[in-house]
């Protein structure tokens, strides 16, 4: 009886969020899961024709673009998240002190993420133009003979997408780490100082461990969002040149919303979901070995 009571009293904290999520997502998830076992093409009327696991077999074994777009997502997402974490962490540490004009500086540094990524991508497309773009113009001002076609070269285009993604999302990492730093009680440092620790030691033995959970959370969120990376690609490169920047979510978008093969798009989406879950679990295990 009392056990139940305790359980209930704890459960009431999480109940609202569970209810909201269930109400909104249960129908779409069940619908798309069933859809993934059917052929359904909106262009020819949207009839559901049972397909068994055909869609999954097709995606995994007969569609090379699924694999290449997963690879592209990794090639873009890996370096991008790494840079975001490094720069975000660095900036947060720089900002975690008394600085003149701090609140203005923070707000200005956060502006990139305030712009909808769909237009941020467009802005960058203009900046990357080899002749009229401001980036090459700036490099020319520095004395370089910059006529680089950022978005037309297979390798530069990948870099260009990474830069844009880093530009947009670094402020998120920075702010989360900064908030984490602000929440660390001063006493921890004082005791370290008494023990004669250098500031580097204090950072690696006190600050970082205490920041672990916020960093874990923000990296997880960025990882999940990067697998869903679509809007920047859509306006910046459309997956080109030579398919090098076609990410898995962009491909899923094409299949679902350009070709209207809803069954196949649902199957690809579930494959994306499974891959995301697997990556997330591995990552959580790595960060929190105690749980294993």
């Amino acid at each position: 009886m009392t056990v139940w009571k305790i359980y209930l009293s704890r459960f009431k904290y999480v109940l609202p969020v569970i209810l909201i999520l269930l109400v909104i997502t249960i129908f779409p998830l069940v619908y798309s899961l069933s859809l993934s076992f059917f052929h359904c093409d909106l262009r020819t009327g949207g009839r559901w024709i049972f397909a068994g696991v055909d869609n999954y077999v097709q995606a995994l074994f007969h569609d090379s673009r699924v694999w290449s777009s997963f690879r592209n997502t990794l090639m873009i997402g890996g370096p991008s998240i790494g840079l975001q974490l490094l720069i975000g962490l660095g900036l947060a540490i720089l900002l975690h002190r008394n600085i003149y004009g701090k609140s203005v500086i923070i707000s200005l540094l956060v502006t990139p993420v305030m712009i909808s990524p769909i237009v941020a991508g467009l802005k960058w497309r203009m900046l990357y133009h080899e002749k009229y773009g401001a980036i090459n113009a700036f490099l020319r001002m520095l004395g370089l003979d910059a006529q680089w076609a950022w978005l037309a070269d297979r390798n530069l285009a990948v870099l260009a997408v990474i830069f844009t993604d880093v530009w947009v999302w670094t402020p998120l990492v920075m702010m989360v780490v900064l908030a984490g730093l602000q929440s660390i009680p001063l006493e921890c440092y004082e005791s370290a100082k008494i023990d004669g620790a250098s500031s580097f030691q204090a950072f690696s033995y006190i600050t970082l461990p205490l920041l672990k959970l916020p960093i874990l959370a923000v990296v997880l969120i960025r990882m999940i969002d990067t697998i869903k990376l679509f809007d920047i690609i859509y306006v910046l490169t459309m997956g080109g040149p030579g398919g090098r920047t076609e990410t898995i979510s962009f491909y899923a978008y094409l299949v679902g919303f350009r070709h209207f093969r809803m069954g196949y798009a649902a199957a690809i989406s579930y494959i994306i979901l499974i891959v995301t879950i697997a990556l997330t679990m591995i990552f959580i295990r790595l960060m929190r070995p105690k749980e294993a």
């Binding site: 305030m114 237009v119 900046l127 401001a134 702010m175």
Partner: protein, 276 residues
């Protein structure tokens, strides 16, 4: 003496680093500001023009009088309601998960998974669902849909702050006669305000910037800024000036909000400033 030079060098390095970051962050923003005052003839020039020769307010007039303010209002209403809703349900959830389940288990993972699903596959059933209950093209519809991915973000971020929060402070309050609920509201929340503020800001920003759901689930009455911005991307003519003006106008409220909540963000400093 040597120590002083060291401090000086350090200060120079810190400000140089920040200046570099500011430059990188603001370069495209400055370009946007500049473009918002340009005529069509100056969008593409060689070399690029930073200060328009004949600055025009036409782009802002177009946004203010013809197309823009209504969409901005929709974005702000949807994002504020969504942020409130998400914080309201996520704070207790994150607290509960942190305190009673040690921040682990399948429940937080399930909540996180709400953010993982690619929108492409859920958007059609969501459209059908929303249509059935009459929520297409309404603020409420988007507030609900956005709460799925924002709750995942908010719960996960807040769990970290709750777990790191020293239990002893909270327990001391409960010994002094607070209930768990009032200890949470009176003692814990004020102390982790930086985390809550950052969570709120980004829930707001995620809602403001979301594109695909907003595109499919709205028509005209509830259309948001990000959908309207995409409408300026005409194949025959990209309306760079109008687009830039709307970007600048839509940044302003978020910027002011970020400035306004800074004192809660910096508040942590009074407890624990690290000397440079």
């Amino acid at each position: 003496m040597r120590k002083r030079t060291q401090v000086l060098i350090k200060a120079v390095l810190i400000y140089a680093g920040l200046a570099l970051a500011l430059f990188a962050a603001l370069f495209p923003i400055a370009w946007t500001v500049s473009t918002s005052f340009k005529h069509i003839g100056e969008y593409y020039t060689y070399p690029p023009v930073w200060v328009p020769r004949e600055p025009t307010l036409a782009n802002y007039q177009y946004i203010l009088y013809t197309a823009g303010l209504g969409y901005l209002r929709n974005s702000l209403v949807i994002s504020s309601l969504n942020t409130l809703l998400v914080l309201l349900v996520s704070i207790p959830a994150a607290y509960g998960i942190a305190r009673f389940w040690g921040g682990r288990g399948s429940l937080p993972f399930w909540i996180l998974s709400q953010r993982m699903f690619p929108p492409i596959a859920v958007i059609i059933p969501l459209f059908l669902l929303m249509r059935r209950v009459g929520l297409i093209d309404t603020h409420l519809g988007l507030v609900g849909v956005y709460s799925t991915f924002n709750a995942a973000f908010a719960v996960w971020l807040l769990i970290g702050f709750f777990v790191e929060f020293p239990k002893e402070i909270e327990e001391a309050a409960m010994v002094d006669g607070c209930t768990r609920g009032s200890a949470l509201v009176r003692i814990v929340l004020p102390l982790i305000s930086p985390g809550i503020v950052v969570t709120g800001i980004f829930c707001f920003i995620f809602s403001c910037n979301e594109f695909l759901f907003a595109l499919i689930l709205t028509r005209e009455a509830a259309r948001t800024v990000s959908v309207q911005l995409s409408a300026f991307l005409a194949p025959t003519r990209i309306l760079w000036g109008e687009m830039s003006a709307l970007i600048i106008i839509s940044i302003i409220p978020i910027f002011i909000m970020t400035m306004a909540v800074q004192k809660y963000l910096v508040k942590g400093l009074t407890f624990g400033a690290v000397k440079g």
